[in-house]
Amino acid sequence: MRRSGKLSLLVSLFVLCGVLLTACGGGSTTGTTSGGSSSTPAGKTVTLVTDIGGINDQSFNQSAYTGYQKAMSQYNFKRSVIETQSESDYVSNLTRAAQSSDMVVGVGFLMASAMDQVARAYPTKYFALVDSCPTDPKDTNKCDNLSNVAPLSYKEQQAGCLAGVVAGKMESLGKARVSKLQGNNTISAVGGMEIPAVVHYIAGYQYCARQVDPSVSVKINYSNNFQDTAKCQDIANNQITQSKSDFVFQVAGGCGVGALQAAQAKGVYSIGVDSDQAHVNSSVVTSAVKRVDTSVYDIIKALQGGKFTAKPPVFDLSNDGVGLGSFSSAVPAEVQPVVNEYVKKIKDGSLNIPETVQ
């Protein structure tokens, strides 16, 4: 090889070793860079493993992360979050999290089987699963109640019901009190996918709206997607123009925001989901809220206080697990008393809300 050839080969090899050396050497420095240096002894460490879509997906991931951050600042443990990139990574991500921290909080029902397997492999570690319970691979019908896994389940239908009450009541008050009604006595819902959480919301919404306004018709569509905002906007537009829907209840995460935008553009009303989405635009009259953040915060609080329970209470109206977001100015005064009436009925169990759409 000519001289210049040798030289450039040597240079490239040298640089390669340089990179590897610094990488190996760098090992020792990892400690200092991440996590705040805490004065009080760090509490038990918790890792949050989110589903696909990242921590800014305007949906479960984001609210779980908010709860996680609140607990992190309070109990001073190192931030450790894994955003899952593909469904085939659930097992390895959960295993890694279990190995590197005391508790693993998984988000999303797709992790049910994976968490079941990892929880069995690490009996000494604690697990929590938002929106689902670990399922035994032999019989997926029932929950596999492992002692170290806390399934966090929510009664979304109660929050959906209250949203339905608001929509139903405003429909029944008519144009005099609610100016932007299209007069077809129709409300609608845009679902992301036909998954338990979404179906519960819409079932409650439909059931209670009919309780308040028996003649109301409820149009339901699914976008089959949680990210594509253009799709949900188009479905909402279709519901508003074709079925003359006055209230669009979005249960589709990031995609659903498109539905809220459509409602505002067409000058009708909309209802947010999961977190209080009043800030999105003026068409949002209220939101069916599911406090995934408080549930995550509570389970971590229980862990830190040594009171971890594999059977946490179901989050519903009574323990403020679910509820209704703030009302916008468009909501007339007559609505609040009706809502309070239904809250009482749900709490004392006299109202039995179905979990599936009729």
Binding site: G5, C24, G25, T33, E83, Q85, S88, T140, E194
Partner: protein
């Protein structure tokens, strides 16, 4: 084909070993440089994007790379995860490489993988009661056939209708994703769950290497503790078999020879009487079979052994395979090495995010940079830095896969055998008549 069977520069006919060493050096040198350039640029990006003073930034970058290395090959468990991630990449990498040799750009590996996984899943769920020794081979063969069918569609459309394979494979990808999602959410949905199938019965799954060892050799040489941790499964061995089959097929058979001719010079294929239409379809079918196997082995080898409806479209293996095949120069050795690199990178992503807080998406940037380095590597202006044995006169990556493959469909029409619509070697750079009789200039002079 990207690599001539044997390529040498020294004059005297050296022995077989030195010649083989030389090929390895020249074939290995280039990808090494590509990966190196990518990592350096990646480091710069991390430093630009991370907060704090320059010192902190450099620290973050360094610890990011430390975790990249640790995450992928640091300890036994990471290695086992990486190998588990590498196996489907090997299969799909071979799928893209085989099609590439025939001058086709197989972006449809993702769809073929999905179809293969689905068919294997259906058989596993429906005939779960059959004993493993019958069920497992059945599922593997079925996935190969399904993948082959899905791949051959691209070949048929290309050969008979001249439809552009990049577009048809992308469309077939999405159709495969949605049809499989419909099946998973429809008839094959696990009772009580949504969007996922019930995990396969034990007889339909492949044992992990650790368990297999414990059950067989382990009784003699001692058991592996905590075997459950090591999730890499038997399909890794299957992948090695596939590599050998691929190597043999491409370099030792007339089919491999015909593919090289079609890929490099379709007009010569017509001259030689090689049936381009038949070989194109055969190549795409085989590519599809490899990709189908990737789907089946991952389903059967990796827990929780179930199909998830949204998993088909979000899985990037089919696309990463393009990087694997190209970085690996469509050679068997190249594919396994680059599959290890890509598998390690992907496996380290979450590890990186866990320990350093740098978003795991850094690995996508690194992957893109590697691909760029591969694409740019042969550039004449770069060749000055390269040692001579790496210098190559013609960009090896320039087999006729440009979209105007469909330009000379006239060749397809009348040829008695037939020939693919491949544009001839760019004749712009040489004119045979009246040109100087000297060898065509090794590298054209940049003005």
């Amino acid at each position: 084909m990207a690599m001539p069977t044997v390529q040498r520069r020294t004059s005297t006919p050296a022995s077989r070993l030195t010649r083989w060493m030389h090929t390895l050096k020249s074939s290995l040198g280039r990808p090494l440089i590509a990966v190196l350039v990518a990592f350096i640029l990646g480091m710069i990006i991390v430093m630009i994007a991370s907060p704090g003073a320059l010192g902190d930034r450099f620290n973050t970058a360094v610890s990011a790379y430390y975790n990249l290395v640790m995450g992928s090959f640091g300890n036994i468990q990471s290695i086992s995860y990486t190998l588990a991630k590498t196996t489907p990449l090997i299969f799909t990498g071979l799928a893209v490489a085989l099609a590439y040799r025939a001058g086709l750009f197989n972006i449809g590996a993702a769809g073929q993988l999905a179809v293969g996984a689905m068919v294997a899943g259906i058989i596993g769920l429906k005939l779960g009661s059959l004993p493993g020794v019958i069920l497992v081979p059945m599922m593997l063969v079925a996935s190969m056939l399904a993948g082959a069918f899905w791949g051959s569609i691209v070949g048929i459309l290309k050969a008979w209708r001249g439809a552009h394979e990049v577009v048809t494979s992308i469309m077939l990808n999405w159709i495969a994703f949605y049809v499989c999602a419909a099946l998973v959410e429809g008839p094959f949905q696990a009772p009580g769950l949504s969007q996922q199938t019930t995990p396969l019965s034990a007889s339909a799954t492949l044992p992990s290497l650790a368990n297999l060892y414990n059950q067989t050799l382990g009784t003699i040489f001692g058991q592996i503790p905590l075997a459950a941790q090591y999730t890499v499964d038997v399909s890794l061995l299957l992948a090695f078999v596939a590599l050998v089959v691929y190597w043999f097929l491409t370099s030792r058979t007339t089919f491999g020879y015909s593919l090289r001719v079609i890929g490099q010079n379709p007009k010569a294929a017509r001259y030689a009487g090689i049936s381009v239409k038949r070989n194109l379809v055969l190549a795409m079918a085989l590519a599809g079979a490899f990709a189908g196997l990737a789907g089946a082995t991952r389903l059967m080898g990796q827990s929780p052994y179930q199909l998830i409806s949204s998993g088909f479209s979000s899985d990037s293996t089919g696309f990463d395979a393009i990087g694997v095949a190209l970085l690996g120069r469509t050679t068997a050795i190249g594919v396994i090495l680059s599959a290890l690199l890509f598998g390690g990178l992907q496996q380290a992503g979450p590890f990186l995010q866990l320990n350093v807080g740098v978003p795991g998406d850094l690995i996508y940037i690194l992957q893109a940079l590697v691909l760029f380095a591969v694409a740019v590597e042969y550039v004449p202006s770069f060749q000055r830095f390269l040692p001579p044995f790496m210098r190559r006169t013609k960009p090896v990556l320039a087999p006729p896969l440009v979209p105007n493959l469909i330009k000379s469909e006239a060749l397809l029409e009348h040829a008695s055998g037939s020939s693919t619509a491949g544009p001839p070697e760019a004749t712009l750079t040489d004119n045979s008549v009246g040109a100087t009789d000297a060898p065509t200039p090794a590298t054209s002079q940049e003005d």
